[in-house]
């Protein structure tokens, strides 16, 4: 597993050299691309950030049309975080459950069929998910939302939100379905690679199947599942069109913490207004929001990497 005892000095053949050069070039291009995107966002955002007259990080205002610029990302950050986190809470147990079923309970042939069907979800374009959420899922869940609000309305999380079903919860459910194939596929992979010895040892000690899964499969796959969830979270944070179509925007000042509230995420806000970027100051304000999303996604992916690395070593 360790890479420290590889010796590049032994390379002699031309094929080795050119392949190595090609691989290095590919890596450099990717790193440069990421850097360029970051620099591009920063360069466009900084002039507008300088002219921002309210706190960029804590304000929920967004007035960038004419006159003085007033924009802050607090509301966007909240909606982005709550939709993604709720989506993960819904998606991860389902993804892990199906992964365990597919790898541990059913014959490989049936398992691969189920896996294939879940993977098909990844092929559905996000605009279809958006329209489906808006026109079918939302109205279908409407009575359930009403009930939830009646019973649990005293908790701020289930407090009064928007009138339509274009709320955070509908967006979260759709996001959960969208990240399901990512988390599920990666979880299937790690569970499938649980060492045969561990499984057989557990069974030999008289473990039932559930005990075997609990003592051998889950501990082995835990960090892999966490890494998969982080990748899914990155996807949920950046999802644009589906959220834009489903979620209702509101004009209320401040943040409504209810799951039935509307709102806008970073990505949906930018996409919603991209056609009307008519001045550099306005563009810069939106790009600044994009920069925050870039940093957040970057952080999430970094955490995923660290977790994944820990599993290997």
């Amino acid at each position: 597993m360790s890479t420290s005892n590889l010796h590049f000095a032994t390379i002699k053949h031309g094929g080795d050299r050119s392949f190595r050069a090609g691989a290095i070039a590919a890596a450099v291009v990717v790193v440069l691309l990421v850097l360029f995107v970051g620099v591009f966002l920063a360069v466009l955002a900084i002039p507008s950030l300088r002219r921002d007259t309210v706190s960029f990080l804590t304000s929920t205002q967004w007035n960038v049309g004419t006159g003085t610029l007033q924009f802050g990302i607090a509301g966007l950050l909240w909606t982005t975080a709550i939709t993604s986190v709720v989506a993960m809470i819904l998606a991860v147990p389902v993804a892990v459950g199906t992964a365990l079923l597919v790898t541990q309970y059913v014959p490989p042939r049936v398992g691969s069929t189920i896996g294939f069907l879940i993977d098909l979800l990844a092929a559905v374009p996000s605009i279809i998910f958006g329209l489906w959420g808006l026109k079918l899922l939302g109205p279908f869940l409407g009575p359930f939302y009403d009930w939830l609000q009646r019973v649990l309305g005293w908790i701020p999380l289930f407090g009064k939100g928007v009138e339509s079903t274009g709320n955070v919860l509908t967006a979260s459910i759709v996001l959960a379905i969208m990240v399901l194939p990512i988390v599920s596929a990666m979880s299937r992979n790690v569970f499938a690679h649980t060492p045969r010895d561990h499984i057989e040892a557990a069974l030999a000690l008289g473990a039932t199947r559930w005990e075997m899964i609990r003592t051998a499969v889950i501990p082995y796959g835990r960090s892999g599942v966490i890494a998969a969830s982080m990748l899914g979270l990155g996807r949920a944070l950046g999802e644009t069109i589906a959220v834009m179509i489903i979620l209702s925007q509101t004009t209320t000042e401040g943040i409504n913490v209810s799951l039935f509230a509307g709102g806008e995420t970073f990505a949906s806000k930018i996409a919603n207004n991209a056609q009307e970027f008519d001045s550099p100051a306005k563009t810069g304000a939106y790009i600044a929001a994009g920069l925050v999303l870039f940093v957040v996604t970057f952080a999430v992916n970094a955490v995923a990497r660290v977790v994944a690395e820990r599993r290997v070593s």
Partner: protein, 367 residues
């Protein structure tokens, strides 16, 4: 293993084919409709011209371009870039495009710059696309609803919250209004329609609608939906909803459209009532410059005042003769009866005959 991968690929391919087909079909059905027009009065010169500007008239102008190309068998190449009115005027004055599209007529300064661009000929503002705004509602048991600017402003500012509010009842005697809460839907994306609605409310109910007009919605309460289609869908799905839409979206979705009462009873939104509002508008331009000053607060009988007029901005002379020929011929079709009537598909009302005649005179006077 290989088999599974192949199946996956095949399934993917099948899916994408379905998606692609769906796309092309919908594109064809929305963009391809053109009314049969004879090319009789058209000269159909060859050449190419480019226009740029207002996004509000994108659909109308695309429709006209398609119909003109049909009538002329693609003799000329005409392009329009919807980049916004400001950009359109700027690039027209810089000589980068042959005509501009704008939601507002040229200012005095812009006229001076335009004259220099047109080799010392005047530039003219020609009103060609008329876009009325529909206030669409969805209220069980109410098939006819009359509102006025004051009530609309109060609804959009969150001051009227129930449909049986006395202010609404006063305009609808004889109609039983339910006590359903009013649910406002507006455009969450910046849009010319929002700008137009806020202009109308600012002009007619300034004490209630206090914000300046802007492309971003400045009302209080309600829910923002993406695009006219999003607002239309939300209004359609919600009892007690009201929202503002471009006309075509309201009719396509079979939504109720509120009549506007300007003092003489409710006025329905139709080609006639929009025409009357335009006839009541003052022409503030001189000669063939047909800058209109719409009177949003008009009390003219039967006039529907919530209307947006967008202009094509052209040189009255000074372009090279090949381009002039195409501009003239294209605009002649644009201002023709057939051309204007075909715009009802995309939610524009035809110009009233009197104004159409003036526009046509101006077009024929382009040298």
């Amino acid at each position: 293993m290989r088999v599974t991968r192949m199946t996956k690929l095949a399934a993917l391919a099948a899916l994408s084919t379905i998606a692609l087909t769906a796309c092309t079909n919908s594109a064809a059905s929305t963009g391809g409709s053109s009314t049969g027009t004879s090319a009789g009065s058209l000269a159909c010169p060859s050449g190419s011209i480019t226009g740029e500007g207002s996004t509000a008239q994108t659909n109308a102008i695309q429709q006209i371009i398609a119909a003109y190309n049909d009538a002329c068998k693609n003799a000329a190449k005409i392009e329009y870039n919807p980049t916004g009115s400001g950009a359109g005027v700027k690039n027209f004055n810089a000589g980068l495009v042959d005509f501009g599209g704008s939601d507002s007529a040229l200012s005095a300064d812009e006229h001076t710059a335009a004259a220099a661009r047109c080799k010392n000929s005047e530039a003219w503002d020609l009103p060609l696309v008329v876009g009325p705004v529909a206030f669409s509602y969805n209220l069980k048991g109410v098939s006819k609803l009359v509102l006025n600017a004051d009530v609309l402003a109060k609804i959009f500012m969150g001051q009227i919250t129930s449909w049986n509010d006395p202010a609404i009842a006063a305009l609808n005697s004889g109609v039983t209004l339910p006590n359903t809460p009013v649910k406002v839907f507006y455009r969450s994306d910046d849009s010319g329609t929002t700008d137009n609605v806020s202009k109308y409310l600012k002009a007619t109910a300034p004490s209630v609608w206090t914000p300046e007009h802007s492309k971003t919605w400045k009302g209080k309460g309600g829910e923002g939906k993406n695009g006219s289609s999003g607002v239309a869908q939300a209004v359609k799905a919600t009892d007690g909803a009201i929202g503002y839409l471009e006309w075509s979206f309201a009719t396509d979705n079979k939504l109720g459209i509120a009549q506007l009462n300007t003092g003489n009873g409710g006025v329905e939104l139709n080609a006639d009532s929009v025409g009357k509002a335009l006839e009541a508008a003052k022409i503030t331009g001189t000669g063939n410059d047909l800058t209109l000053q719409l009177d949003y607060a008009t009390k003219a009988a039967g006039a529907y005042p919530a209307v947006l007029v967008t202009y094509e901005i052209v040189c009255s002379g000074g372009l090279d003769s090949a381009k002039t020929a195409v501009v003239k011929d294209f605009l002649t079709y644009f201002a023709s009866d057939a051309g204007q009537k075909s715009l009802s598909d995309v939610g524009s009302a035809p110009l009233p005959a009197s104004l159409r005649a003036k526009v046509n005179t101006a077009i024929q006077a382009i040298k």
